[in-house]
């Protein structure tokens, strides 16, 4: 019996040795292999090809299957993370920095020419964490309203003005909304994809107080924005509700959802960034029929802006190659490609003022490109509080907004609950963690007092 065992063991060891010898080298044909976690946008391949051609000693590969933040953190901590990973917006990069997986790039960025002074001021504010830089934007997003000229012509509705108010918007969208003839539901909605937080900003509201220590979504102005979001679905019926969204969400992949409904003529206006054009250009019926205007406004002409930014894994063994990639993000070749492919807006602002962006000869019918730059310049980045993890706060708000969209809560209750639950979590963080108490001291100039009257309602019953 033992002889059999040793024979089998020998065979297995020999096989393992052979497999190890035949394992492909990470440096393919002498090239350093870089793994970049990003989304599966079709134009990503061209961006990678340009980089690989101009850097023959590096082989950049895309990993679109691990884009979730928790995957990146767990893989990186486990030592099997990528070299480069994308973070979308402030919340994600904040989380990656807190988890200790993103490398501090401040000094390297200055040295290699991709510091935050080179990008948009709002994005520079978004990506600066405690005065340090941990990433550089791959592209930046400012939302506008695309509208389908064919549907406007069919329903005899005048094209919207470049800047318009909520009332004008509701009036126009109402005239474009059509009920289905032989079944329940709607054949065409006036608009889709509006973001509740943008409506709060447009109403003059805020998410957090000036010092960032309290959630103020229950203020009158914030409530006005939240109520308007609710009314779009349940009062005016011009925007799809959760049951319609549920139909779309079961589809997966990049560029799906309301853009496809817009392409199919089921939505007359859709909120999207410039990257939406990548999907919309595939629709023959929309050639020359797309227009773009600013999001409607109330008290403020506000819209959210954010970036898809790229960070370097602190544990990457190919650090130099990764820094080279970030240099590439600030290069002419990359920014020109972004302009040409409509992959949102380039990270370097000067490219949107060039003729190649404003009047792209390959898409002469897209005569609205200046609106993106304008939206970018007037946009604001999402607020965060130093006393609560942004994605925890985001999840609380998202769940409550979903309930409200499904008519399970009133706007007033939603606003109250958002403020209550976020502030309760802030209170719990302050009671539990010294780190947060120190931040509270920095923000307010005074020590946290758990017995203070302002915190009374958050104490556990």
């Amino acid at each position: 019996m033992r002889r059999i065992f040793w024979a089998i063991l020998f065979v297995l060891l020999a096989g393992s040795f052979l497999a190890w010898r035949l394992k492909p080298d990470t440096s393919e044909h002498g090239r350093t292999r870089l793994v970049w976690i990003s989304d599966d946008n079709p134009v990503r391949r061209e961006q990678i090809e340009i980089f690989n051609r101009s850097h023959p000693d590096i082989l950049l590969t895309l990993d679109p299957g691990n884009i979730w933040m928790e995957k990146i953190i767990v893989q990186s901590i486990g030592g099997v993370g990528p070299d480069l990973f994308d973070a979308v917006g402030r919340y994600t990069i904040y989380g990656l920095v807190e988890a200790g997986v993103a490398m501090d790039l401040t000094d390297l960025a200055r040295e290699h020419g991709f510091d935050l002074k080179r990008t948009w001021p709002a994005i520079a504010k978004e990506l600066q964490i405690d005065g340090r830089q941990y990433s550089f934007p791959c592209n930046v997003v400012a939302s506008v309203l695309f509208y389908n000229k064919a549907l406007f012509d069919e329903y005899g509705v005048a094209y919207p003005p470049r800047d318009w108010t909520w009332d004008e918007f509701v009036d126009t969208a109402s005239r474009l909304t059509r009920k289905a003839r032989n079944r329940s539901g709607y054949e065409c909605f006036g608009v889709a994809g509006l973001h509740w937080y943008e409506l709060v900003l447009q109403a003059g509201g805020r998410m957090y107080s000036d010092d960032g220590t309290r959630c103020v979504l229950n203020s009158t102005k914030a409530l006005k924005g939240i109520r308007f979001y609710y009314d779009l679905i349940h009062k005016y019926h011009i925007m799809p509700g959760p049951d319609d969204e549920a139909l779309i969400r079961s589809e997966g992949g990049w560029g799906v959802g309301f853009l496809k409904w817009f392409g199919a003529g089921r939505v007359a206006m859709v909120r999207s960034g410039r990257a939406g054009l990548i999907t919309l250009r595939e629709y023959e019926a929309l050639r020359g029929k797309i227009g773009a205007v600013h999001l409607p406004h109330d008290a403020e002409k506000a819209g959210l802006v954010y970036s898809r930014n790229c960070a370097v894994n602190r544990q990457s063994t190919n650090r130099d190659a990764a820094i080279t990639f970030l240099e590439y993000l600030a290069s002419d070749a990359y920014n020109t490609q972004i302009v040409r492919s409509a992959d949102s807006l380039p990270p370097i602002p000067e490219y949107v003022d060039r003729d190649g962006f404003l009047h792209d000869p390959a898409h002469a019918d897209e005569d609205f490109n200046d609106i993106f730059a304008e939206a970018m310049r007037r946009g604001v980045v999402p607020e965060i509080s130093p006393l609560i993890s942004p994605w925890v706060a985001n999840k609380i708000m998202y769940d409550l907004i979903q309930d409200m969209s499904g008519n399970l809560r009133s706007p007033e209750e939603t606003a109250e609950q958002m403020a209550f639950r976020v502030n309760r979590r802030i209170y719990q963080n302050l009671c539990k963690y010294q780190t947060f108490r120190d931040r509270y001291m920095t923000c307010t100039g005074k020590a946290f007092d758990a017995g203070d009257q302002q915190w009374k309602q958050y104490r556990q019953e």
Binding site: M1, V74, L247, S250, W391, D403, Q460
Partner: protein
């Protein structure tokens, strides 16, 4: 060295020791794997449950004693923990239906399908079914009901294949959900439950609108009269049962009294419910004629308030929780439980059935006095495993179908562990929740073994 050879087996023998060493050498790779990937992580998580391990480094890493357990069981997280525990228990409501269904399916597929005495007659029957099905499908297609037409075609194909392949076809069909990837099933059901376009509400909407029309034709006096008649019958039956129970109970004992009193109460309540429905029929039909919103609704059969976990009338109905229960019943009814029952059915001695047939027992009596007691060990095993799976489960459904909504009504303990561990990155707290869930499962399983096992042993003693 066998027992029959007359020699005593001993580990001191050189050959035995050599065999043991060889066995251990063969087992070692598997043991290493077990230690590295099962035992070590479990022990590691137990240690981490007593720490403040947080991937976002809010505080320096250190031991916190029982603080995590305190927070979850009666501290700042207790309200949400117990709410999600109730959600988990709610999802197990379908378990008795699923187990009973598995038993029924096992009994059905345990016998061959006999259609006609000859091969030719069987195929003739199949051809008739096929033609009839195709005609009905065509008629529905012409009438503009393409969806129903396709459904009828599928049923026809299934029936014909059943005729051709016999019971093997149905066994395969019932077991099919087990082969299918979970996520694919959940995405499919999510579309089925879509309130506007989903197939379920298309059918339900048609049925309910037909019922409402019928309700409109029926004069209100008819259901009310029926209600009065049924009320009188139920009252008479209930009193009769009560009288029987009380008169027999001194002889039969307290157990008999309790069992039959419970049956009496159920009969009275069921009858009262039916009478109430008859009385309210016209208004009820109108009010309940809209199909449920399923995954978008917080209503449920327990009428549980999503915030406060207490029953409240306005939450009574069919919603996300029930949708997941129905889907789980479908997924498990033809699965491993059916196979276990099939295996159990084949072990029942034929002589037992012959013995009760001699006494003139019908099908129900055979089931009650032979099949059910003989399957007691299998049922016990299935119940124990189902409870364990139920308390652990619910993660995939929440993650794919509802993200825990609406209003956190579909967050189970499994999904809560994921939220705390990988959305808040508090791995110490998530580990503590895991161990609390383990404690609950262990306690429930121990209770099952203590009391359920005793029932099986009593049955085995009686049947010996």
């Amino acid at each position: 060295m066998s027992a029959g050879s007359g020699k005593t087996f001993s580990w001191k023998h050189r050959r035995a020791r050599s065999d043991l060493h060889a066995a251990m050498l063969f087992l070692m790779p598997n043991l290493f794997g077990l230690l590295a990937f099962v035992v070590f992580p479990v022990l590691f998580s137990l240690v981490m449950a007593f720490t403040n391990w947080d991937l976002t480094h809010r505080e320096p890493f250190g031991a916190v004693g029982l603080e995590n357990f305190r927070d979850i069981l009666w501290g700042e997280r207790s309200k949400e923990f117990w709410k999600y525990f109730l959600n988990t228990v709610y999802f197990m409501l379908g378990m008795p239906v699923s187990i009973a269904g598995s038993l029924l399916l096992a009994i059905l597929v345990n016998r061959p399908i006999r259609i006609g005495k000859t091969y030719v007659r069987r195929w003739l029957a199949g051809a008739v079914v096929f033609l009839a099905g195709v005609c009905v499908a065509l008629a529905l297609w012409q009438a503009g009901r393409q969806g129903f037409s396709v459904a009828v075609l599928w049923v026809t194909v299934a029936a014909v294949l059943g005729v051709a392949a016999g019971v093997v076809f149905f066994r395969t069909m019932f077991y099919l959900p087990q082969f299918t990837a979970g996520v694919a099933i959940f995405v499919l059901w999510k579309n089925l439950f879509q309130p506007q376009f989903g197939l379920i509400n298309q059918v339900l909407g048609l049925l309910l609108s037909t019922l409402v029309k019928l309700a409109g034709w029926v004069p209100p006096a008819v259901p009310k009269s029926l209600g009065v008649i049924v009320a009188a019958m139920v009252a008479w039956l209930t009193l009769k049962k009560l009288h029987q129970t009380i008169s027999k109970s001194p002889a039969e004992g307290i157990g008999f009294l309790i069992k039959h009193l419970i049956a009496t109460v159920i009969l009275a309540l069921g009858g009262a419910g039916f009478v109430w429905m008859c009385w309210r029929f016209p208004g009820l039909a109108e009010a309940e004629s809209a199909p449920p919103a399923w995954l978008l609704s917080v209503k449920n059969l327990w009428a549980m308030d999503p915030e406060e976990i207490w029953p409240k009338r306005q939450f009574w109905g069919l919603g996300a929780r029930d949708a997941i229960v129905f889907m789980s019943i479908w997924a498990t009814i033809g699965g491993g439980n059916m196979l276990l029952y099939l295996a159990g059915l084949t072990t029942i001695p034929r002589e037992l059935y012959e013995a009760v047939e001699v006494d003139g027992a019908g099908r129900w009596a055979k089931f009650r006095h032979v099949t059910w007691p003989q399957l007691a060990p299998t049922t016990f095993f299935i119940v124990v495993l189902s409870i364990i799976a139920g308390l652990q489960g619910g993660f995939e459904q929440a993650r794919v179908m509802t993200q825990g909504g609406p209003a956190e009504t579909t967050v189970t303990l499994g999904y809560y562990i994921y939220l705390v561990g990988f959305q808040e990155f508090q791995l110490g707290l998530a580990s503590a929740i895991c161990w609390i869930v383990f404690g609950i499962i262990f306690a429930v399983t121990a209770l099952n073994w203590r009391y359920g096992n005793r029932y099986i042993q009593v049955d085995e003693t009686v049947n010996m």
